[in-house]
Symmetry: C2
Subunit: 406 residues, 2 copies
């Protein structure tokens, strides 16, 4: 993509209502635009990142036998009344049609997937199964804030697993932990698996995947041994001896929740009468697990973790482009050489953003490259001759290489 | 994918409220599930088709310099008041938040993209530009009907183009016709470019892409020469001499609209004060075009056109899988051989659905293969020995080939 053709432009000044690092950088670099509090448009650069995150999530969910589906956002009121959440869920958007039917806008999808599963699960032979989707969710948050971290409308992956036995759910639940860890590692994040409240459905803990960062909304108590509890359930404090390893001292860390996994037990199977016939002929309730990753929140979390004063620093697998080719100086030879490099890289399947704006100053271009944060910057200027200057966004070292070496 | 693992099951009986061929076949084959009138869940087979249609649309939109973005579904009321459509658009879903803010659920996105374009378009140098998205739309239809053809919630591609001059819009408009024709051809449809009303924004015609089928809601008057007008604006009737070629007689044809393209002129630029500075320094309103394809409707239209009594017949490029491998008879040798073929095809990058259900009867399996409609059926049975029976879904001829030949 030629930067001169890119619809979005960068901005040097922060928006007055930029309340977080991720909002500030993502808006200034033209990745997203805030339509209203907690509601964002994703522009070409931002959409490319979301796409890459989504594809990583797809690969890892497919690897644990997840089957991708796509459920509606409009849900019939009666399904939510049946689970008691029409009244109890305070962030539920409610809507009335011309013909006076009432709907909710899905903030989560148990109310749709469990009745759907009922149509396709009859026997123990139909179990286990796992369905997931990547889809827009809606939550009527009174205080949407922190950029992409807490939105009214956001992109989420939710997977639901269906099991005949508690042991089978447990085995899948452990497998999902590894799949989740893979997702976050590939996104350049070190996620800490943290015990949290199981909510009203189960006495078991749920598990959250928390990423340590100063701007996090959550507080977790962790130990290097792997122990970690969310403040809401923690019985330890900072400096306490770790109850698991008995050696290290507990640290309090601010963090962002990027995923959670949940043992729903039979709560929703009971609500919708989802039963299966077991091998012995008896009828039993299906045991359900649910597993969420905030796709757009993850994009925000990556920015919160990977940035410096000048801008964002995208991890390789989720960067909008692999290379940012920057042509400096209003010089025909430079542009001719740049075009050749751009063509060669693009033809060999590399993803390149080429800053071909002849009217922009060198300072503007290098500043934009730092702000946008593509992992590898290639500079061609009157000084570089027939060579190219290569610099990793995350490093200071500059290498001079020939096109062939590149 | 092994069919025994597929979450969705086929059904022999039509739903009582199946009002159309596409609803009937898609639900019975487990591609979709109707949550309520006009609102569908896409199950793994259906979601694969939607994905393939979306990717075709992406390729063709990218080819005409479209840049993909993703806009919100929740829109602020004030934007819709500004265009006059808060009151005038009868299918607009309106919603109120806990804090009494009012939103609409986007049935189209001029009200979001034009203010967004205003932030990034200042000069003639910024034009032309084209942005598109593939996203869920909402319309509060009183009578949602005809399966995926008229929904309350549906997947749509909408592209918006921005131009400095009317000539530039016209040139892009013509280019989009070719891109649209490419999309429909690749989806196995012969779309007739049809003149239709330009609505309240322009005196020009808009153009619809209409696919002839008995179950279509629309009526068009067409000639083999390429002339075609929607009934709503047609000044010719069936049997009239074609006003364009002057030779052939006009035919009246029932059809489904699968796409439309629209010259919006400066209506929305005026509403949101979207201006650019031209080369001569004067300030002018940006001229806008909009271009829609109903992605989920297209899936329904394909089924309406490509089916027979036994089920659907998917065109190659949009089929959920390329091969349907069917193992007949409860016979170990057959399953061993089938597994080898499945592994070999899958390893070589082919998409295969393998009917590995040992408990299902031969009739059930062959019936399901016809219903699901994957283009190429491969049968392995005690009769086929070390060969494979190959049959195209759309043809009657059966070939016997070796694995190597395959």
């Amino acid at each position: 993509m030629k930067q001169s053709q890119l619809f979005s432009k960068t901005s040097k000044t922060s928006e007055a209502d930029a309340t977080s690092v991720n909002h500030d950088f993502l808006v200034r670099a033209g990745f997203v635009d805030q339509l209203m509090a907690g509601v964002y448009s994703y522009l070409p650069l931002g959409w490319r990142v979301l796409h890459k995150i989504s594809d990583i999530v797809r690969e890892e969910m497919d690897a644990i036998a997840g089957q991708e589906i796509f459920l509606p956002a409009l849900h019939p009121k009666e399904n939510w009344v049946k689970t008691g959440r029409w009244e109890s869920m305070d962030v539920l958007f409610k809507i009335k049609s011309q013909s006076d039917s009432e709907y909710s806008l899905g903030p989560t999808h148990e109310e749709v997937i469990v009745p759907l599963a009922k149509k396709h699960i009859n026997s123990y032979r139909d179990l286990p199964k796992a369905w997931y989707q990547i889809q827009t969710k809606f939550r009527d948050e009174l205080r949407a804030k922190a950029g992409l971290l807490r939105g009214r409308e956001f992109l989420m992956k939710d997977l639901y697993s269906f099991h005949a036995t508690r042991e089978d759910l447990q085995a899948y639940y452990e497998k999902s932990k590894q799949a989740y860890t893979n997702v976050f590692t590939r996104c350049g994040l070190d996620a800490i698996i943290t015990e949290a409240s199981g909510g009203s459905f189960t006495k078991e803990f749920s598990h959250e995947f928390q990423v340590a960062t100063e701007n996090g909304e959550d507080l977790i108590f962790t130990c290097a041994c792997g122990f970690s509890q969310n403040k809401e359930i923690a019985k330890v404090g900072e400096g306490d001896r770790c109850p698991r390893c008995g050696k290290e001292k507990i640290k309090a860390v601010k963090s962002i929740e990027v995923g959670n996994i949940f043992d729903l037990g039979t709560k929703f199977s009971k609500d919708f009468d989802l039963k299966f016939t077991d091998e012995d002929g008896t009828s039993k309730e299906v045991i359900i697990g649910c597993y969420g990753i905030g796709i757009s929140r993850l994009m925000g979390a990556i920015v919160e973790v990977h940035n410096d004063e000048a801008g964002m620093i995208w991890p390789e697998e989720v960067a909008p482009y692999e290379y940012h080719l920057v042509s400096l100086g209003d010089n025909d030879a430079v542009y001719k050489q740049s075009e050749e490099v751009y063509e060669q890289l693009t033809k060999s399947g590399k993803e390149v953003l080429w800053d071909d704006r002849r009217e922009a100053s060198n300072g503007e271009k290098l500043g934009d490259a730092d702000l946008i944060g593509i992992p590898t910057r290639l500079v061609i200027s009157p000084k570089t001759g027939d060579k190219i200057e290569v610099k990793k966004r995350a490093e200071k070292e500059i290498k001079i290489v020939s096109i062939k070496e590149l």
